[in-house]
Symmetry: C2
Subunit: 256 residues, 2 copies
């Protein structure tokens, strides 16, 4: 039997202009493409032609992974697609875990094709909000107790990390973002810039910059990325800027 | 005069297979390409033909930015190239700062083209070490006091973030990585997996997985990415795996 391959492939924000050639080639060579329906929709039809396409709904992560592993076990060249980077709040881990549990790590080739993460796409649209040490925190408490999430937010805010928030808000957890902003506000000025970006590099892109005090949480949904500046972040010409410190040490554009 | 444009473009890890089409197009359309010599060398020659190419040495960040801004101010279509993502420990911030200081944000188009960050490329090679909340910390104390770096490492370790370390070690700061591992070891078991990746997706790629107790710091240089697992990270079949918690909640591959 042909040796199966299971590649977890990042689609980036969803614009084909941000899909690297390695990911494109993995899709082209695949015999089977598996993914959440919303992500399959981001793949250009040309890459799906003549392939077996298996899509599942939002909460079907485990089902999706087992489908992909079944196909790879049967000798398929399988792409599991994720949005953003497959290693950040996506499917690389669950796929690896399933291959291990099912004893297939020796017999199936496992591969991760990195992509442009959602928070980097959001940062690019906002200007340069990351630039220094940063932390990423998901507010989803489906798999992590809220106490642990709160502790991480508090630690990251206290140590002056720029903070990128994933899964900030859903109908079931409408209050989590407010709670997170309050924890962070215990360590940061109310004037701290906060950028939000939804549907980055896609039709309907929404981006805006407010502050910890003025952010309208109703603009935020589950797929929005929220980036909270550190103590030095400021807004220049409508862009968020976290300096790396060069300005103190060197003379950026000084005297010109 | 033609309106200038200054795009800060991420080259990703350096393999052209990880250069997204948007970045490629920005390079193709540019009249001027500016960057650190080592990054200019990563750009395929075909993208540099017929263009003005301005490269500077390692420490010439401010000089490089001012050259790029001069060209954009003169109406050029300028690409400032960075490795990885331009918003992560790279040039997007310094460019924005210079445009602001020189009063050019109204007259020059500023743009960031996101890329595949070094720590995502490293994670992909190691398996799935990120997967849950993570923090990125640079050990370079050129622009940040060591006390602040130490505080961030301590906070991130205490709150059980996966930690990605940038700039882990240079001749001038040979002891920083050991110091960082000791701080983190105050909160994590000595068995915690630690992955290191140098030259990801490039000739001479080096990747290995050790533990907090066994890591050989001599394998690490300034361009290596070091990823330290959280309290749940384990090694399966030679890959680093940080579960997202599905295994407790669902039944991954169970009984099959």
């Amino acid at each position: 039997m042909r040796r199966g391959r299971l590649a977890v492939v990042g689609l980036g924000p969803g614009d084909s202009g941000l899909l690297p050639p390695l990911a494109r080639t993995a899709l082209e060579n695949a015999t089977v493409v598996v993914g959440y329906k919303g992500y399959i929709d981001l793949v250009e039809a040309v890459h799906l032609q003549g392939k077996k396409v298996l899509s599942t709904g939002m909460m079907g992560e485990v089902e999706r992974v087992n489908l992909a592993v079944d196909e790879a076990q049967a000798g398929g060249d399988v792409c599991m697609v994720c949005s953003g980077d497959p290693g950040i709040y996506a499917m690389a881990g669950l796929v690896l875990e399933a291959l291990d549990t099912r004893g297939l790590l020796e017999s199936v080739d496992f591969d991760v094709v990195p992509g442009v993460p959602a928070f980097c796409a959001a940062a690019a649209i906002l200007g340069a909000p990351l630039m220094h040490d940063f932390a990423a925190v998901s507010l989803s408490d489906l798999l992590t107790p809220w106490e642990k999430i709160a502790k991480r937010l508090d630690a990251a805010a206290d140590a002056d990390f720029v903070i990128a928030i994933y899964n900030p808000r859903s109908k079931k957890r409408a209050g989590h973002l407010e709670a997170a902003l309050e924890i962070i506000g215990g360590h940061r000025s109310p004037d701290t810039p906060v950028g939000i970006v939804g549907r980055a590099f896609r039709p309907g892109q929404l981006a805006s910059i407010a502050t910890l005090a003025t952010l309208d949480v109703n603009l935020v949904d589950m797929q929005t990325i929220v980036i909270i500046g550190n103590s030095t972040t400021r807004v220049v010409g409508g862009h968020m800027l976290t300096p790396r410190g060069y300005h103190d040490k060197y003379d950026v554009g000084g005297g010109r």
